[in-house]
């Protein structure tokens, strides 16, 4: 009862309030409250996450399991950034309280936390993100191999889109007039047509399916038909 029924009733009540508040403005304050509850829960769970991170990596280091050195780096980074943020290292005091360093914003420009974010975290994140370019190339190479009719169509379309998005595409079909029916075959116009028509049509079909699927799953949860989020079972 305590483990299943009460959480299920809470989830149902919160979900129904959220839906009804969309149509009945009277329930809007309740909707805001539900969002605040979720934020409180997430904040508490964040402590749980920090504790779990420490446990997992300390255990790995203690057992000297493969890759334990990475865990050491993770732990060192976690503890040092936490200390920089909590003790507000390098924070400039506010104008209103010039003698109280702890009154300053730990994220303000020039603070230790800001330096870590700007010069360590942001470049590392950008590095991982930039690797995406290489992954796109390798995935495209595999996807565009002309092994059957569908793949040939895909390859042809991709070729038109790629060319149409570059100066080379404009240059290649520059001989076609800018007005009239033939203008539709200029690569830059063909690209726009492909993106606005077949691509949008396909996308919308998927979007309608997704929207109905989302509503259906939500409804199953609200009706208590789907209880997988409580650990499965009936």
């Amino acid at each position: 009862m305590m483990k299943r029924t009460i959480p299920m009733l809470l989830a149902m009540a919160a979900g129904i309030v959220m839906i009804l508040a969309y149509f009945f403005p009277l329930l809007a304050p309740l909707q805001d409250k539900t969002t605040v509850w979720f934020n409180i829960l997430a904040a508490v769970a964040f402590i749980l996450g920090g504790g779990n991170l420490l446990k997992v990596h300390l255990k790995k280091v203690s057992d000297r399991r493969e890759g334990w050195a990475y865990s050491m780096i993770t732990l060192a980074a976690f503890v040092s950034v936490l200390a920089i943020g909590l003790f507000k290292l390098g924070v400039n005091p506010l104008d209103e309280f010039p003698t109280q360093r702890m009154a300053g914003d730990f994220r303000a420009e020039g603070s230790g936390f800001w330096y870590v974010y700007e010069y360590v975290f942001a470049p590392l994140t950008a590095t991982i993100f930039s690797m995406l370019a290489f992954y796109v190339a390798s995935a495209a190479f595999r996807a565009f191999r002309a092994k059957n009719l569908e793949a040939i169509l895909l390859l042809g379309t991709a070729f038109v889109i790629l060319l149409g998005r570059t100066a080379a595409g404009v240059f290649l079909t520059d001989f076609l007039p800018e007005e009239g029916m033939l203008a539709n075959f200029r690569l830059e116009n063909l690209t726009v047509w492909i993106m606005n028509n077949p691509v949008t049509a396909g996308n919308r079909a998927i979007m309608i399916g997704i929207a109905l699927g989302t509503a259906s799953v939500s409804l199953k949860i609200l009706l208590g038909v789907d209880r997988s989020y409580l650990g499965g079972g009936d």
């Binding site: 403005p25 997430a42 590392l124 993100f129 690797m131 309608i208 997704i210 009706l223 989020y229």
Partner: protein, 291 residues
């Protein structure tokens, strides 16, 4: 305590006054959303009707979903190779419906893994997802009759940061070479990085997401992909419970309604080209009814 009660009463009174003001300014029912309310009611009735039909013994057929059939094959392969199964439930919290749909698939993966005695590793990007996934996997191991094999340390929190999470997963995949990688949930730019890394280590990969922009990446790099709607249908398909299968039928009815409205809209748009006086009705249809 009386002080607390008085404060609470004052707060409640303030909120009630604020709510009353809101009602005065916006009305009891948001009439702009009335057509959507109609569609919602239709959808709810359709789903509830079909659930009750299914519960009373009505037969409901669901087409085979290759990606879900492949999960058993993937776990079996991992068992044969003596390697782990990596399950990634996306990078969003449990408040995201895709994460819940992913957790449903995790339940099936964990149950199959428990039966095969395979190891399922679930690194997560949100702590609430970790708690939910632990409950789900524990329940699945119990259902499979292997509660002793459950190890909660295999479901752990990594980081909330998108690319920090991706860096961890990519490194872990390259080092530990899981035999199967299953991605089910909400993904953004990390989808291709994960899928390509999994592809490079030769893992069998199954993905499912409702993010249209990420679907092409998964299709290009994974062996099987559950596209949007299929991903949401996974729960019903895997559970085989009549109530859940009934909800799929209700969903189909709503699809028929959507199809009808699209057809009607297309006819209306064409007709306005020939009969300009229909423009007002067409604007009402697209702007008010569908807007």
């Amino acid at each position: 305590m009386p002080c607390f009660s008085l404060t609470s009463l004052l707060l409640v009174a303030e909120e009630a006054a604020a709510a009353a003001e809101t009602v005065e300014s916006t009305g009891l029912l948001n009439t702009d959303r009335l057509p959507l309310l109609g569609v919602t009611v239709f959808f709810v009735v359709a789903v509830v009707f079909w659930i009750s039909v299914a519960r009373s013994g009505g037969q409901i057929k669901v087409r085979e979903i290759a990606g879900l059939k492949a999960i058993e094959e993937a776990v079996g392969r991992a068992t044969e190779m003596g390697r782990s199964v990596l399950f990634v439930p996306g990078i969003q919290d449990v408040s995201e419906i895709q994460t819940i749909a992913g957790i449903t698939v995790l339940s099936k993966v964990a149950k199959t893994a428990a039966e095969y005695d395979a190891k399922v590793e679930v690194p997560v990007a949100r702590t609430l997802v970790m708690v939910t996934a632990r409950e789900t996997v524990q329940e699945a191991f119990l259902a499979a009759g292997r509660p002793d094999a459950y190890n909660e340390d295999l479901i752990y929190y990594v980081t909330d940061e998108q690319f920090g999470y991706v860096a961890y997963l990519s490194g872990m995949m390259v080092r530990e070479k899981p035999a199967a990688c299953i991605y089910m949930g909400c993904f953004y730019a990390e989808s291709l990085i994960l899928a390509e890394t999994g592809n490079s280590i030769g893992a069998i990969q199954v993905a499912g997401t409702a993010m249209p922009a990420q679907l092409p990446f998964f299709v290009a790099a994974c062996d099987y992909t559950l596209i949007g709607e299929e991903f949401y249908a996974a729960s019903a398909y895997l559970s085989e419970s009549p109530a859940e299968l009934g909800s799929l039928k209700g969903q189909d009815l709503a699809k028929v309604l959507a199809f009808g409205l699209i057809g009607l809209g297309a006819l209306f748009a064409t007709a306005t080209q020939f009969v300009p006086s229909l423009q007002g009705a067409f604007d009402f249809f697209t702007g008010t009814l569908l807007g």
